[in-house]
Symmetry: C2
Subunit: 295 residues, 2 copies
């Protein structure tokens, strides 16, 4: 990995954190506790994988960074709300997240449900309030976002996950579940960025293929880390998939084949962007980070 | 109440139910159970108060009905998702809703959380997919909807409600709570309809005042019914506010003064629309229905 481009990645993370703080700024005295709960989760040192993808896609397509802040924030907010609800006792029942008690532990279940709900609303609010884009562009973006997180997207995938726990499913069903639960939001992030351009082009097609590959690799790497890492490094309980009797790529493929698969997808991602050598460094380093990350 | 206009109200309810069925039509085989859970709540014979307000506002402003179907559906979807989450054990812990087991009882808590989440996404999706309106109009509508249901709106109000249970609050705090929890969504419905017109006018100002009055009256009537009605008529446990030690208008004002207040607000609502005698019948009957309803 080129260290210059690694610092480029962290440059984008900093740009995002700065913008995200303005999004989460409290402008009202009415509901301090709910705002506090929202910030507890949203400003908790996440990896910001989805915002990074947004910024890097914009860079690859020569779209000014100021046009995509709102997309990055909206997609991260959806991710944050889904984490809060996924951690609830009725869902994955995870008490820890990023090394801290989950929101429902730090506050209570009622606040966690409401904070998640409010964060989802905020995602749509931020997306549509982007002053840099035309209404017709934002309209399409809102459709992408809504479709990716509803019953035919993330929420649907999460239900498949809940229902398949303790059951034998096929590898095909596992892939469908993850495409809904994780993949659709990644693709929606890219679609929102690409939609800023008036016409489709080869770079856009390449970016879509890249995103499909890395989002799949990202998910498999998650499963691998659950087996190989420790709770301290992960900031949440390791081996929780095994404990919860979850279907994962590791249980299907075995850990070695799972690693081979992430490597294959990593190479596939790099291959799709290789025709643009002057533009590909940051996307390459991002893919590298995703499949070699330790938490 | 004029029986012709009463049947006009039910005409609009039927129009809505017909449209709502198309919104909730299943176009995918992926996630049947989640879709089933969504329909369990959304197609459960609700009063459709918010959609009715949307249609009647459109009629009052001479806006064709086909332009507001999506607004009516979006606002009802937000209401439906909030009911599902409000009923959860960590929130109001209500086992019955409209005479049937609440969603988390009929299915389970995990499905209820996810169904609520997916319904919120669907609300934004439907609103933005309205083929009858321009993107700039829909952009503003999305802002109204998001602001009315997030942490500075409905979700914030629900948290105030949760936090004030078992506590002494002031009447002013009770009013703030209900404005957030119920009032903002009513006002947002009206704002979305009014935003279809290019310019503001006196009818729009009147409609806003009307809506503020009836949404407040609607809430007080809810509190009165909780005291005076039976579980059978309500389709949910009566006296639940007393059981849950909730602050209500009845506990603050006493039941007689609460009734006087709904009557005062009812008259105020009628007064605001009285300058348009040829247009006011349906709105009058709607206000009448809201404050004289038995469930």
């Amino acid at each position: 990995m080129n260290s210059t481009t690694t610092s480029e990645l962290s440059k984008f993370t900093k740009i995002f954190e700065h913008f995200f703080l303005t999004v989460l700024k409290n402008t009202s005295q009415i509901q301090l506790k709910l705002h506090e709960a929202i910030c507890y989760t949203c400003l908790n040192g996440g990896k910001r994988v989805r915002p990074l993808l947004v910024y890097l896609a914009a860079e690859f397509l020569d779209i000014p960074v100021k046009k995509v802040h709102h997309i990055a924030a909206a997609i991260e907010l959806i991710h944050c709300y889904s984490m809060i609800h996924d951690d609830l006792p009725a869902m994955d029942n995870d008490d820890f997240r990023r090394g801290k008690p989950s929101l429902h532990i730090a506050y209570n279940e009622g606040i966690a449900i409401l904070a998640g709900d409010a964060i989802q609303s905020l995602a749509f609010e931020i997306l549509i309030k982007n002053p840099e884009l035309l209404p017709e562009v934002k309209t399409k973006q809102t459709i992408y976002l809504a479709e990716s997180c509803g019953w035919q997207g993330m929420a649907g995938g999460q239900l498949l996950d809940l229902e398949s726990t303790d059951k034998q499913i096929t590898l095909e069903e596992l892939i469908t579940m993850h495409k809904l639960k994780t993949g659709k939001l990644f693709i929606s992030a890219i679609s929102m960025v690409c939609g800023i351009l008036e016409n489709s082009n080869e770079k856009i097609s390449a970016l879509r293929k890249y995103t499909e590959a890395i989002s799949f690799a990202f998910q498999i790497q998650d499963d691998i880390l659950d087996v190989e890492s420790t709770s301290e490094i992960l900031g949440k309980p390791a081996k929780s998939d095994i404990k919860n009797n979850k279907n994962t790529y590791c249980t299907f493929l075995g850990i070695d084949k799972a690693k081979q698969e992430t490597n294959r997808l990593y190479k596939e991602a790099l291959e799709t962007i290789s025709p643009w050598p002057e533009k590909k460094d940051n996307l390459e380093n991002f893919a590298n980070y995703l499949v070699h990350r330790k938490y």
